[in-house]
Amino acid sequence: MDTQKITFSFVSPDGDRQDVTASPGETVMQVAYQHGIEGIAAECGGSMSCGTCHVVLDAAAFERLDAPTEGEIEMLDLVSSARQPTSRLSCQVKVSEGLAGASVHIPESQF
């Protein structure tokens, strides 16, 4: 049902913004795949094993969402583009109400 859908935006390194609408429970990585968003490689398919689905959330959205797990925090130490205070692995961020209106920034490189 449309009323349950959540809308948020991907922002490319150049600043281009693309709004997407997704269902709760999907991961941000899956949503990026479905919408052909460039710059989120996610090569391991969402197993928290490759560190190539790094995104940076806007601070307010980061605060609204559940905190990353210890495993995700460790992996974030190893991503290619510089880690930011609000960095997340998009395979670990589930679409929820907290993500409504969020800006999901894609880093320069995943490799």
């Binding site: 090569e43 197993s47 560190g51 460790e74 991503v79 490799f111």
Partner: protein, 421 residues
């Protein structure tokens, strides 16, 4: 759930039976053509020669790789041709204590070990080798200058990845060809079909390779350096519950193979496809920014890892076929890489292909290749340096190209080229 199929009772005349009879697991000639034909109608078939079920479609290959709960990796590097009991006993007696710690083990052990390994084999740390790898590539390319023709395997792709592996391991003053020879032997013992005599004769060499790995470990234990075994020793912190010493020896032994074997083959596969298509080579000469995608297309079109193995932990359904616990699967990464369901005109090599990177050459799921960043780096740099140094390079088409093949790996044994056209 459907009724499970009995592998030994597939009716003659059934497409699945026909596929199993035609598939020759250790022969690479014609493999891509056969899979192109099978993918359309036969998503899975039984290969009696190896007692494995072969999976042909990308979607099914990825589904199995991602499902580590139901599909175990324990058979990933098991000898396809079992080792004779006398050989196993000899190895045990001589202190060969290599364990399956990473590529061929399951959670929770895999998770525990990977958490240590990841501290070293990760995109950021591997990037830090960029300047050193560039120097290595330039050294090999410089050594070709002044020659009319070379074999690119002999002159570059065979040794270079081993030298890069040595950087990670802190190995100095060792002939890379010594490690390459050991590696080839080990690959044949795991994924090939050696005779019993060959297996017995190889045992001593295998032991030497293991001891080389153990010596490296002992040296780093005495005097830590800035390298992989030293990092793992520090990460273990003397605590066996975190990581044992034998696990580190085994991880070092694993990297001494995994860090270069597939990159050597992948580089040679890529160069061969590019040189077979002079307009593609010229395109990279004219516009080097095309190189990273050409690397991905090479990995897609001819993966150096043509197949990988899994085993069902419970009753499963793969490609619409119900199979019992214990079933062994050979996932054709070669076939998956050309699957038209994902790759339009999948049988066409296209260096500008938009979704080339959707290949599965580095696997998928929790066992995704940790060395992928440095493998790509080397392939990219080889192309950058070769196209810059020898823009008119051509393949010597009159000379035969042999593909050395085992069950899982593929690469040309030689690549004769004229450096200046």
């Amino acid at each position: 759930m459907q009724t499970e199929i009995d592998a030994h009772n597939i009716p003659v005349g059934c497409p699945m039976h026909d596929a199993g009879a035609r598939f020759r697991p250790f022969v690479h000639e014609g493999m891509y053509d056969l899979f192109a034909e099978l993918r359309a109608t036969v998503p899975i078939f039984y290969s009696p020669e190896i007692d494995y079920w072969v999976v042909t479609r990308r979607e099914d290959v990825i589904a199995v790789l991602r499902d580590h709960e139901r599909f175990s990796a324990v058979n990933a590097t098991q000898p396809v041709t079992p080792w004779p009991p006398e050989m196993l006993q000899f190895l045990v007696d001589q202190g060969f204590t290599n364990e399956s710690v990473q590529v061929a083990c399951d959670p929770p052990r895999h998770t525990r070990v990977r958490s240590h390994v990841q501290g070293f084999l990760n995109p950021k740390r591997l990037q830090s080798y960029e300047a050193q790898v560039r120097d290595l590539v330039r050294g090999y390319v410089a050594a070709m200058q002044g020659k009319e023709s070379v074999d690119l395997v002999d002159a570059l792709t065979y040794e270079l990845p081993a030298r890069t592996a040595f950087l990670l391991l802190g190995v100095k003053d060792v002939d890379p060809r010594r490690v390459k020879a050991w590696t080839e032997l080990r690959v044949k013992l795991m994924h090939g079909h050696p005779s019993r005599e060959e297996q017995m004769a190889a045992a001593d060499e295998l032991l030497d390779f293991w001891r080389f790995s153990c010596d490296l470990f002992e040296q780093r234990k005495r005097a830590p350096q800035d390298d992989y075994p030293s990092f793992l020793l520090a990460s273990r912190g003397g605590d066996d519950s975190k990581l044992t010493e034998n696990e580190i020896k085994s991880l070092t032994f694993a990297l001494l193979l995994a860090a270069h074997e597939t990159t050597s083959n992948a580089s040679a596969n890529l160069l061969l496809e590019l040189l077979r298509r002079p307009t593609d080579w010229q395109a990279l000469v004219d516009d080097p920014t095309l190189i990273p995608n050409a690397v991905e297309e090479g990995l897609r079109y001819v993966s150096s890892v043509v197949a990988w193995r899994r085993q069902a932990k419970e009753s499963v359904e793969v490609g619409g076929t119900a199979l019992p616990a214990g079933t062994k699967f050979l996932l054709s990464l070669a076939s998956a890489g050309r699957d038209e369901a994902t790759f339009e005109n999948g049988e066409t090599f296209d260096i500008r292909r938009k979704n080339a990177r959707a290949h599965v050459a580095f696997g998928n799921g929790i066992h995704f290749c940790m060395g992928a960043p440095i493998a790509r780096m080397q392939m990219r740099m080889m192309l950058e340096e070769l196209t810059a140094a020898f823009p008119a390079m051509t393949l010597m088409r009159e000379q035969p190209i042999d593909i050395a093949g085992v069950l899982t790996f593929r690469g040309p044994t030689r690549l004769p080229v004229r450096l200046n056209g």
